[in-house]
Symmetry: none
Subunit: 403 residues, 2 copies
Amino acid sequence: MDRPLVETLALKEGARIVLLVLDGLGDLPHPQHGGLTPLEEAVTPNLDRLAPRSAMGRILPVAPGVTPGSGPGHLALFGFDPAATEVGRGVLEALGAGMTVQPGDVAARANFCTVDGTGTVTDRRAGRIPSETCARLVEKLRGAVPRVEDVEVVLQAGRGHRFVALFRGPGLGEGVSDADPHREGLPIPAAVAEAAQGMKTARVVNAFVQGARGALAGEAPANAVLVRGLSARPRFPSFQERFHLRAGAVAPYPMYRGVAQLAGMEVIGTGESVADEFGTVAAHWDRFDFFFVHFKPTDMAGEDGDFDAKARAIEEVDRALPALLDLGPGVLCVTGDHSTPVPIRGHSWHPVPVMIHAPHCGADGLQRFHERYARAGSLGTFESRHLMSLLLANAGRLDKFGA
Amino acid sequence: MDRPLVETLALKEGARIVLLVLDGLGDLPHPQHGGLTPLEEAVTPNLDRLAPRSAMGRILPVAPGVTPGSGPGHLALFGFDPAATEVGRGVLEALGAGMTVQPGDVAARANFCTVDGTGTVTDRRAGRIPSETCARLVEKLRGAVPRVEDVEVVLQAGRGHRFVALFRGPGLGEGVSDADPHREGLPIPAAVAEAAQGMKTARVVNAFVQGARGALAGEAPANAVLVRGLSARPRFPSFQERFHLRAGAVAPYPMYRGVAQLAGMEVIGTGESVADEFGTVAAHWDRFDFFFVHFKPTDMAGEDGDFDAKARAIEEVDRALPALLDLGPGVLCVTGDHSTPVPIRGHSWHPVPVMIHAPHCGADGLQRFHERYARAGSLGTFESRHLMSLLLANAGRLDKFGA
């Protein structure tokens, strides 16, 4: 793959950049709230002070109409083309579960399932067993199949019938089919390698599935396991390599820490509140050129369909903002990874408002930062993957292209 | 070619979509009409009621500055990349002439021309003979060269010197050069196959050109024919295959029925008026998930440079609209395939206003649907080929991308 233009232009010096991501920030007008969005309704005096002297616009995480998961949403913010940047399902699941995925590891999404006496899968979700049962059975598997050959089996229980299986050892590779028939009424197929690099993985996975079958023989309804999405940690160049940026990530939730690590950032802290997160930034101010700060409650409120909680979450960020501004970031960007509109109660495809505050960002003169004004902003509507270029440019970190 | 992302995300269930295309809808402000466009001047109470609760934007059929023909304009609306999706000239001409182009057929654009005693082309357009003469000569050719070998020759007279020649029989393929010198002063070249699949086509075309020469020997000035743009019907995956949509097309004009068929829709009716067309939609409501309704008079008025006729055509659609709304489409989209501005009297490159009305489209709060408000809409300006993604998203028919 050719190196993206912007990476060839990145300079080694420039201003410090803070990318503040309010997860699921974008929303829709709500008839019950006077046609306002949570961002419009929220009382945000600090953002309001920045707004007229900032540039606004809207970002499209992937493409028009496409609703992104957290992985693609963040990879795009970090300057990757999310449609062309594959992170395997297993790796994303492992990161989301808070597991460390090292180079060489292969991770998979796994289910507890039910098989009958002939080995036919009769329920791919084992009757959706409670999470407590899942935790107990995972513990049982840890004891029964701690390793296969010289490969360590690392398991993490999830919700209901779900868990994550990570295989760590020499010689593992991806390109291995699922040990999952993907529908009921069929036996569990053996995992098959599509190429030589996956041969050992397939063998190890099949042995794990067999071992689990033995260990779960006395259980009901969860008497077997299915494994899918086997994938290795992708090898992305780091922020240092791509942009000459020492990049630090502050994120309380595992998924976002994991994606930041994949993108080559150093995770420097979590934080109980956004004020804590800004404190972490302050404590590491001199060590990094770029800070990614992730704030989750906006997304959670959107998923819950809770308009007021979303507005209050935004206000929490606004209240804490002065501490961040006091650090004097050369470039401050406030945006989201995708929209999570309250009426949809989930991620959506709608463009996300973005605001860039920097000496030469251009002052749009718009009174506040929200969806409606962002439509009229000088940045226009553009794909999220171009945001890093704008941040670098505003930080004086991009060379001129051509003479 | 990789499958487009949106097709990999298409779900099998979701709301019903109606795509109402007012051909050539977009226009320019007119000094003689108070600086308004036809869409601004038209009285459209029904569209006005939808407007504030809808999302608006503008679509670019192909790329900035590029004026599309009807083929690319519609292929883009149907979710194809029009610059990468080739439909041969002959096939488009045949569809536009109302001919059925079956898989395996090869179609060509043909001219009557004048050759001198040495076989040199002296007028590629045979003095632009009247259409009546063209029809008479085509009838003569039908009698003289009804078939070549086991290949049926299907002819359709056009305007002036133009006609369409379609070859139907076993073993025909495309990749055949034109039997047309493309300028005067040269003999008619033989059609030549670029690859084995075109060998028989070239032989049949050359025999047809020779046969026509004999049949027209006593005519003047049209005493020979030229054949160009030899092309086979492309094999596109259907709407069902691409989007899991049962798609029906309502279009009174052959070109649009033809392009809809190429895109894998079922043509379910024509209709004398837009009210008739909506009646056809109603009659087939339960059979389809997606309806393409094509309305031609806006484009014709634009081509005629008739501002008032274009405004009246828009009003005709607006008057009929309640019958369509009464059906309760989950997603209604009103737009055009390109602009046909009255002052230009032809297709143009200007962005086309688009309006999407659906439960989660986002209510832009804009008072009316027209070019000026569309510029301020939440959808922004985007390429027409992404419109299908937005319609699918609004219909709840697109899965999330990535975890």
